[in-house]
């Protein structure tokens, strides 16, 4: 029997093999197996679906939105949901709420992405350096972390925004500055357990320096628990951003930021409930989606649960 008579492996078999034939093959097989584990969690898939939908809506906002989010039509103000042309109603200036929600998803994603990049990276850096270096560096870095942790989060963010001026960028900066300490704590705790394992000793015995050990050997092991924590914190970050918007310190009118929209609707909440409720539902849905996704990711990524 020649090699051509053997059945060619299907993609699935190729990805599930125990004997990968190249670096990329091994990496793809690993990712596929993680995906299979993740796919089994229906709630997490539901959360992922909502978030993909959010990304889709944000990307195609100009084509999906029935109206311009900024054009005012005082003749059609405070239309209830279901009015022809205004599926989710209109606000006090006659702007279509659905269009504003669609454009607002861009702002939400922008804030979430920036905070999700800045805060965990800062925390990872501070935590791993403190954990690996030990001694005075550890004491100094962790006391700074403690100081940040001791402030109430929203109050600190408010103080920052008040000092730097209102606006989305400053809101992101303020939220990041208050969000990194928990990540530093997690990263340090992980580093302390990792730094005395034999595989770190083994790479030290090859003459590797601390920079290489931290970035190439400790970071990959910390990242999974940070990713889980970030997705679970996302809901809080969205709420903090919305809270700043509500207080008038985040996105400025007429920007269709969801928190700012709730703030505008507050004045009419008893007579015209939809103005505040619709953006509230949007915030609720996205926060819930992130929570579900975080739960699923924890099951897949947590090294303590799975195989070593």
């Amino acid at each position: 029997m020649s090699i051509n008579d053997l059945p060619r492996p299907t993609w699935r078999e190729w990805l599930l093999t125990d004997t990968p034939t190249s670096r990329n093959h091994a990496r793809l097989a690993n990712m596929y197996q993680a995906w299979l584990a993740f796919r089994g969690n229906h709630m997490a898939m539901f959360g992922l679906g909502i978030l993909l939908f959010l990304v889709f809506v944000a990307a195609l906002a100009p084509w999906l939105a029935p109206h311009d989010p900024f054009i005012q039509d005082l003749g059609a103000r405070l239309q209830p949901p279901g009015t022809p042309g205004y599926i989710l109603g209109s606000d006090s200036l006659g702007r279509d709420i659905l269009s504003r929600l669609i454009y607002g998803s861009r702002i939400t994603l922008y804030i979430v992405t920036l905070v999700a990049i800045v805060a965990p990276l800062a925390g990872l850096f501070v935590g791993t350096v403190a954990g690996y270096a030990g001694g005075w560096a550890d004491i100094l870095l962790m006391r700074i972390t403690d100081i940040f942790l001791a402030f109430p989060r929203l109050v600190l963010a408010l103080a920052f925004v008040a000092a730097l001026g209102a606006g989305i960028e400053n809101a992101v900066l303020a939220i990041s500055l208050t969000a990194w300490p928990p990540y530093a704590r997690i990263a340090r705790a992980e580093t302390l357990t990792i730094r005395n394992t034999d595989y770190i000793h083994a790479i030290r015995l090859q003459g590797a320096g601390p920079l290489r050990i931290i970035t190439k050997h400790i970071w990959p092991l910390c990242i999974s628990s940070l990713v889980v924590r970030v997705t679970l914190d996302m809901a809080g970050i969205i709420l903090a951003a919305a809270g700043l918007g509500f207080l008038g310190l985040g996105a400025q009118p007429p920007s269709p930021e969801w928190g700012a929209m709730i703030s505008e609707g507050r004045k009419f909440i008893l007579d015209h409930w939809w103005v505040a409720t619709m953006p509230g539902l949007a915030i609720f849905t996205v926060s819930l989606a992130f929570n579900l996704l975080g739960d699923g990711l924890r099951d897949v990524l947590d090294p303590k649960e799975g195989k070593s």
Binding site: P20, A26, D198, Q206, G207, S308
Partner: protein, 252 residues
């Protein structure tokens, strides 16, 4: 020239009232190309000596000489090209997120080798793993296969001295024999010097020419393997240890 000479080595952990002296005044020497075993009960300081030689602890005093050079508290990469170590537990000594290929290629590039691809294939062949194992992750390997990868990693810089910290104690009996045969073949091929820690006298008897018996951080006695087999000891503790161990093996 001696491979390893240790004179009056002390290793301790902690300070002041918390201080624990793990090794007290140990002295022995291993000739170049020789094979030396450290035996003793758990906690007698055997592994601590190995880790002090490798520079994993800073808190030691005394004299450690390797291949004619006296060591300071700092080790450079040149030292790690000559001396390597295999750890006890193969389940803990491989990075869980790195494939065999990543482990070996990083080691080789750290030591400045250029022909990394060819060397990885050669190393895997030398330790009895085929090319099929090259891109596997630790969770896809058995204990014995992991230990072979760890040995390949230690051999990568082409060292002259290999320190073995109970290399078979975490493996089951049939795999132990394979790993021991591999180690003795490698020693013959590459003219390696071994310093080995074990509490299993059969393992030490298989690989070593001389042994040092340790108790509570001190070296009680140094004797040859023939003397060990014939129970020709000067110290009572050695005889007790040997008899206890042999009695156990007879019963087992």
């Amino acid at each position: 020239m001696n491979g390893i000479t240790i004179e009056n080595l002390n290793v301790w952990f902690g300070d002041y009232e918390d201080r624990v002296d793990a090794v007290k005044g140990a002295s022995f020497s291993v000739p170049k190309g020789g094979s030396f075993g450290l035996v003793g009960e758990s906690g007698s300081g055997k592994s601590t000596i190995l880790r002090a030689i490798m520079g994993l602890f800073d808190t030691w005093s005394g004299k450690i000489e390797v291949l004619g050079e006296t060591l300071t508290h700092k080790r450079d990469r040149e030292f790690y090209r000559k001396v390597q170590m295999v750890f006890q537990d193969p389940y803990a000594s491989l990075h869980p997120r790195q494939s065999v290929d990543q482990v070996l290629s990083e080691t080789l590039s750290l030591h400045g080798f250029k022909d990394i691809d060819a060397r990885i294939s050669k190393l895997l062949e030398d330790v009895g793993l085929g090319p099929a194992f090259r891109f596997r992750y630790p969770h896809q390997l058995s204990g014995g296969q992991r230990q072979r990868v760890a040995i390949a990693r230690a051999l990568a810089p082409e060292p002259e001295i290999l320190l073995l910290d109970e290399p078979t104690s975490a493996l089951d009996v049939s795999v132990q024999a394979e790993i021991l045969n591999l180690l003795s073949d490698l020693r013959a091929e590459r003219k390696l010097t071994y310093l080995m820690v074990s509490h299993d006298l059969a393992v030490v008897g298989h690989l070593c020419h001389d042994i040092a018996v340790m108790q509570l951080g001190k070296i009680v006695e140094v004797l040859s393997i023939e003397d060990m087999r014939a129970l020709q000891t000067r110290e009572d503790y050695t005889r007790t240890l040997l008899q206890a161990s042999m009695g156990y093996e007879l019963r087992g």
